[in-house]
Amino acid sequence: MSDGETPVGDGGEAETDETPAGDGGEAETDETPADGDASRDSVDLTAADGDVPPAVRLEGITKRFGDVVANDGVDFTLEPGTVHAIVGENGAGKTTLMSVLYGLYRPDEGRIVVDGEPRTFDSPRDASDAGIGMIHQHFQLVDTMTVLQNVVLGYEPTDSGLVDADRAREEIAEVCATYGFDVDEYLDTRIEELGIGVQQRVEIVKSLYRGADTLVLDEPTAVLTPQEVDDLFDVMVELTESGRSLVFITHKLEEAMAVADEITVLRDGEAVGTVDGDATSREELARMMVGREVLFDTVERTTSPGAEILSVEDLHVRDDRGLLAVRGVDCTVREGEILGIAGVEGNGQAELVEALTGLRSVEEGTVTFAGRDVTDRSRRERIQAGIAYVPEDRQAEGLVQDYDLVRNALLGNQTVEPFVRGRFVNWGAVRDHAESIVDEYDVQPGNADAEASSLSGGNQQKFVVGREFEHDPDLLVASHPTRGVDIGAIEFIHERLREMRDDGVGVVLVSSKLDEIQQLSDRIAVVYEGEFVDVVDPAAVTDHDLGLLMTGDSPDGPVAAAEPAADGGGGA
C-alpha cells in the first residue's frame, strides 16, 4: 500500500517489532537487524522486557476444501528470530497452512496474529504488507527479466514516474551486504541464465527487499543439490541471526533437525505436536508423522532369484541431442531380483530406462525380455508383454494432469483386460481399479474423481506407483519410485517392491537415493558416463566406495572389508 518509500525497511506498517536487543527469547536474536537505514521506527517498549509477541501465531486454523479438511484446528507459533520447521507427510496440510498465512486461502475458522496483532489477509499482497514473505517451491520469477527487475517488480522505487534503477541497485546491494548474499553480483543477468541455487537466493532477496520479517520457505531443498542445500542452511542461519523469523516446510527429517529450533509435526491436517529441534530424533519425528513405528533398516530376504528375465547386450542409446548417452551396457536381471542402478543423475540412466521400456530407439545392441528379442518392439507391445514402468517424470509422463484419477488409471492399460473389451473401454472396471489404487496406496485426497493436477506431488507419485505395481508385471522398471514421497509411503512402496520381488518379478531400480538402492537391491550396477563401471554387492560396499565409483574412480580395495552401510545415507 503506502510503502513506496523505503522498501528495505518495514514499510509504513506500525508493527510491534521485536526489539533487536535483549529480547530474551529462546534463540539468540540479538544481532542488530542492520536494516541499512533506521526505519524500524515503532519499537514496542514492552518488548524489551522479554515479553516479545511471537512473529506469527496461528490459532485454531481450519481450512476445508469441499469434504476434505486440509487443516483442522491447527495452532502454530513462530518465535521471532528462530527457524520453525513444519514436517509432515504429503497431504498432511503443510502447504495449505502456509497458504493461509500467506493470504492465498482464507481460513474457514481460526485467527492469524502477526507480531501480536490480529490480521486477516485477502491476498498475498496483504500478507506481504504485514511483513510475511513466501519462497515457493516453484520460483515466482520472470525468466527473461534480469535479477534487478525481478527483485523490484511491483515495488519499484520511482523518480518522477520512472523506475529509479540506481536507487534500486543501491538498496539491493544493501540487502545483500547485510546478509552476505552474492545476488548483487548478478543484478543484470537474466534469471534463465542462473543456477537454481542462485535463483532461490534471488527469491529470498526479493522478499527481504519487500520488507519481509517472516519468511516461509516451502520445501526449499527439493530442487537443490547437496552443496546448495548447505549454502541455503548458512543463509538461514544468517537470516535468523539478524532477527528474521523463518518457517521451513519440509518432509526431510534430517534437514528439519539440522536447522530448526522447533519442529511442528502435521498429520492429516492436525498439528500432532511441537518438539525441540535439538532434542528430538529421526525415529520420534517419523513416529509422530506416521502415527506408528517406522523401520529404517534393511530387511533380509528369504527368497532367492530365479531364471533370467531381462538381458541387455552391448546397448548403445542416443539422447535427445543425438549424443551417445548409453555406451555399451551389458546386464541381466533375474526373476525375483532387484538390480539397483546407482549413479549421479545424467549419466545415461534416463536413456537406459527408456530403451528398456520401449520409449527410445536403440542405436546398437539388444534387449531380450523373457527369451524374446524386444529391441524393436514398441512401447505398447512391451507393456502387453509384461513390462511395467514407473517413470521418472510423473508430471509429464506418468499422469495426464487434467484427467481425473479414473481416466489416469487407464493410462498404459489401454490394451489390458478387463479395462478394455475389444475396442471399447470398460469404465466401470477402470473406476474400480482407480479406487483400489487410491485405497491401497493411500492416495490423498481419497477420491478417484479428483484431477491429477490437484494432488500434491507425493500423492501423484503414489498413484503412479500403485498403477504400475498393480500391472502384474514380469519386469518392473522403476525410476526414482519414492521421489518426493513421504516416509510412510516410502516404507510402503519399499515393502511392495520386496513383495513383488518375492513373487518373482524382476526389478530394475534407478534411484538417486543411495540408501534406497542399498536397502533394496540384490546387486548394484554403478553407472558412469553411460557405462556400468562395476556391479557390486550392496552388503559389501560402503557409501564411500559407491561414491567413488559413481564419479568414475575405482576404490582402492574394492568391495573389501566393508561393513554393511548404515542407514541414513544422507548425513553430513
Binding site: V68, D122, G412
Partner: protein, 377 residues
C-alpha cells in the same frame, strides 16, 4: 496497482471464477442465452447510435433466425452443416492436431459424392431405391475422399515434421483450385458457361419430412446429430478415442502409455477428414443438387473452427454452438434483405454476440487451468 480496491476486485474475480468453473451444463446454456441477450442489447445501442432502427434490427435478426417455418429451416440447414464441420474440427483439436483444412476436405468430399452420383446414376435403377443407393455410395465416397485428403497433411506432420496448420491451409487452396479446374474442363455440360456439373437426378434427394424447404431436410440434421453421437461415444468410450484425446492433452503421457505419436496424428486427420467429407456429401446432396466452383461455397469449414472452439472442442457442445452460429448466420442474411443496415454492422453485432457467448466459457477454461474450483489439497 496498490490499494485494497484491486485486491477486493481480485477476491471477487476469484470467487466468480470459482463459481464459473463449477457451473452445470444447464447453467452454462442459461448463461449463453443471457449473454446473447446482453450482446443484442449492446448491439442495438450501437445500431441506434449509427442512425438505424435498432428495434427493427433486433426483430429482423430474431425473425430471420426463427421467425417463420422457412426461416427455421434455413437456420437448421446452416446449423447442420456447421455441426458436421464442427465435429470434424473438434476431433482433430481434441487430439491436439490443428486441422485448418476442414474446408478443403469438405470440398473434396462433396466432389467425390458428385462424381459418384453422376457416374453411377445411369447404371442403377431410377426412383427411391436408386436414390438411396446413390446417396449411400456418395456418402461413402465422400468419407473416403475426405479421409484420404486429410491423411496427406497427417502423414506430412507425422513423418516429415511439416506443420499441419500450414499444410492444411495450403491444401484448402489446392482442393478448391483443382476441383474448379476439373469441373470447368471435364464436367461442365456442353453449351453452358457456368462452372457447374450436371444436376443430379431428381430422385437423389433427402426426404423433407417436416419442413417444406428445397434445401433442408431433417435427415441432413439427423446425419449431423448421428455423427455427433458417434464421435462422442468414440472419444469417451473407445480405446482409440482415449489414445487420441490423451495425445491431445499431454503428448508425453500418451507416448508413455504406448501410443504411437505418428500413427495417432494420421488416424486423427483421417477421422477428421472423413467427417468433413461427410459434410461435403450433405452439402452436395441436400443443398446444391449438383456441384460447382468451390470458391463460391459458404465457408462452413472455417466457421466450424469458431463453432468447435466455442464448444471447447466437445462434440456434444458443438450442437448448441452450431445452432447459435446457424441462427446468427440466417438472421444476419435476413437483415440484409429486410433492412438497410450495412452488412459490416450486422457482422459486427454478430461478432459481438459470439464474443459475449464465448467470454464466460473462456473464463471458465482459464479458471480451470488456474486450478480454481473443485477440491485442491
Amino acid at each position: 496497482m496498490s490499494g485494497a480496491d484491486t485486491d477486493g476486485a481480485r477476491a471477487f474475480l476469484d470467487r466468480a471464477a470459482d463459481r464459473m468453473v463449477d457451473a452445470t451444463a444447464i447453467e452454462r446454456i442459461a448463461i449463453g442465452f443471457a449473454s446473447t441477450a446482453l450482446a443484442l442489447a449492446l448491439g442495438s445501442v450501437i445500431v441506434a447510435a449509427t442512425g438505424y432502427d435498432a428495434v427493427e434490427f433486433v426483430t429482423s435478426l430474431v425473425d430471420g433466425a426463427v421467425g417463420s417455418e422457412s426461416n427455421i429451416a434455413f437456420t437448421l440447414r446452416q446449423s447442420s452443416m456447421l455441426i458436421l464441420a464442427g465435429v470434424a474440427v473438434a476431433i482433430a483439436f481434441r487430439a491436439g492436431v490443428f486441422n485448418i483444412g476442414v474446408q478443403g476436405q469438405f470440398v473434396v468430399g462433396g466432389f467425390a459424392t458428385s462424381l459418384t452420383i453422376l457416374y453411377f446414376a445411369p447404371h442403377l435403377p431410377e426412383g427411391t431405391t436408386g436414390g438411396v443407393l446413390l446417396m449411400a455410395l456418395g456418402a461413402i465416397a465422400a468419407m473416403l475422399a475426405g479421409g484420404a485428403y486429410a491423411a496427406l497433411p497427417g502423414l506430412m506432420k507425422a513423418y516429415a515434421d511439416a506443420n499441419e496448420v500450414i499444410t492444411t491451409i495450403m491444401l484448402n487452396f489446392i482442393a478448391s483450385g483443382v476441383v474448379y479446374f476439373l469441373i470447368d474442363e471435364y464436367l461442365r455440360p456442353a453449351g453452358t458457361s457456368a462452372p457447374n456439373t450436371e444436376r443430379f437426378p431428381e430422385y437423389v434427394e433427402l426426404p423433407r419430412v417436416v419442413f417444406d424447404s428445397p434445401s433442408f431436410s431433417v435427415v441432413g440434421l439427423g446425419v449431423a446429430l448421428a455423427a455427433v453421437v458417434l464421435v462422442a461415444v468414440f472419444m469417451s468410450r473407445t480405446r482409440l478415442g482415449y489414445d487420441l484425446v490423451t495425445s491431445g492433452h499431454q503428448q508425453s503421457a500418451a507416448a508413455y502409455s504406448g501410443v504411437d505419436p505418428g500413427r495417432t496424428v494420421v488416424t486423427t486427420m483421417v477421422l477428421s477428414g472423413m467427417v468433413a467429407g461427410l459434410a461435403g456429401a450433405v452439402f452436395a446432396v441436400m443443398i446444391l443438387g449438383y456441384y460447382s466452383d468451390p470458391s463460391t461455397f459458404p465457408t462452413f469449414g472455417f466457421d466450424a473452427i469458431a463453432v468447435s472452439l466455442l464448444a471447447a472442442n466437445s462434440p456434444v457442445g458443438v450442437v448448441p454452438a452450431g445452432l447459435l452460429f446457424g441462427g446468427l448466420d440466417a438472421g444476419g442474411q435476413y437483415i440484409g434483405f429486410t433492412t438497410d443496415v450495412p452488412s459490416e454492422l450486422v457482422d459486427g453485432v454478430v461478432g459481438l454476440i459470439v464474443l459475449f457467448v464465448a467470454a464466460p466459457e473462456l473464463f471458465r477454461m482459464a479458471g480451470k487451468r488456474a486450478w480454481l474450483g473443485g477440491d485442491r489439497e
